[in-house]
């Protein structure tokens, strides 16, 4: 199809689709007037059921934990997808070796290194705080995991990326990432063994404070590890490619 024909097809369809959506939205409740029972039951029972104050976290990690298990593995498999898609295939590897693979790239400047080290500790603490309070306040394993991953990535960067590559902590990160994903599934299996059914929350919910929610904080920690590992893997994989090309071009 020519670009013009394509655009005409799109424009006609878009008008139709917008009409259909408008027709559908006319049947939704007025904005701000939602009365569904599911949400109200969940909001009313999260605190009595789990002593955790964050109803969304209880939904994500307890009532609807299976969805989260699936989501964790989506993240997990996408990392492996990125690794597989950006892997260096045989031809490239041979060419890469010819121009000196493994040579140290340009090191980071002294000030960058200092800034990285100064920043890392507070950012790490922030990440840990967000992960550990996931069941009490907004935030949790996912949000904290991204913060942790970013902090670690900055640390690797400021320490000089190629040095990082030579000792291959990538495989450690890989293990952490996979371990986080497996951890979530294992917590579910724990419910099967110690409770009665898969993903059952088998730890007492407690009364108040950090140690409430039963397995929810554990799940949050597993997710935090997984997300942090996944982010580092993905970002370094994109960076890896760049460095490889730069080496080749010299």
């Amino acid at each position: 199809m020519s670009r013009r024909a394509r655009f005409v097809l799109f424009a006609i369809s878009a008008v139709g689709a917008a009409g259909l959506l408008a027709w559908a939205f006319a049947g939704l409740p007025e904005f701000g007037d939602y009365q569904g029972r599911y949400g109200r039951i969940v909001a009313a029972s999260a605190v009595p059921d789990r002593s955790a104050t964050e109803a969304v976290a209880v939904t994500v990690f307890d009532y609807r934990a299976l969805d989260t298990l699936g989501e964790e593995f989506i993240l997990f498999v996408s990392v492996f997808g990125v690794l597989a898609l950006l892997r260096i295939h045989r031809g490239e590897r041979e060419r890469g070796r010819a121009v000196g693979e493994g040579r140290r790239g340009p090191g980071p400047s002294e000030s960058l290194r200092l800034a990285g080290r100064l920043l890392v500790a507070p950012v790490l603490l922030l990440g840990i705080y967000i992960v550990s309070h996931g069941h009490l306040t907004p935030g949790g394993g996912f949000q904290g995991g991204v913060v942790l991953g970013t902090a670690m990535f900055l640390l690797f960067l400021s320490a000089g990326y190629l040095a990082f590559k030579r000792v291959r902590p990538v495989s450690v990160v890989e293990a952490v990432e996979a371990g986080g994903a497996a951890g979530f599934a294992l917590i579910g299996v724990g419910g099967l063994l110690l409770g009665a059914v898969f993903l059952e929350n088998f730890i007492s919910p407690g009364k108040s404070g950090l140690l409430t929610g039963g397995t929810i904080p554990l799940s949050n920690a597993a997710v935090g590890l997984e997300v942090a590992g996944a982010l580092i893997m993905i970002l370094s994989e994109f960076l890896d490619q760049r460095l490889l090309v730069r080496e080749r071009s010299r």
Partner: protein, 89 residues
């Protein structure tokens, strides 16, 4: 008051979405999409969804733009290499 605020942010989000689409230069687009992510986060805060808003901030304004910029950098290096070696693109 809340309604007026929400309406304003909604209009901004609509405009932001359009801006992301019409910004054809990818590096600029990464920046615009980062702002779009923040607008969405503001909308979610006004919808009383702080959890989602935080996720949106870390994903839409940090992780995804970082991935885009790294991918772009990778692509540019590839272009430079191609020019250097005289290959036809």
């Amino acid at each position: 008051m809340t309604t007026a605020l929400q309406a304003t942010i909604l209009v901004l989000v609509a405009a932001g979405g359009l801006a992301v689409v019409v910004t054809r230069e990818p590096a600029k687009q990464a920046a615009v999409s980062s702002i779009f992510g923040l607008l969405l986060a503001a909308l979610f805060f006004s919808y009383q969804a702080p959890d989602v808003a935080l996720s949106q901030i870390v994903v839409g304004s940090v992780a995804v733009p970082a991935m885009i910029l790294l991918a772009l950098a990778k692509v540019r290096e590839g272009d430079r290499e191609r020019e250097g070696s005289g290959e036809e693109p």
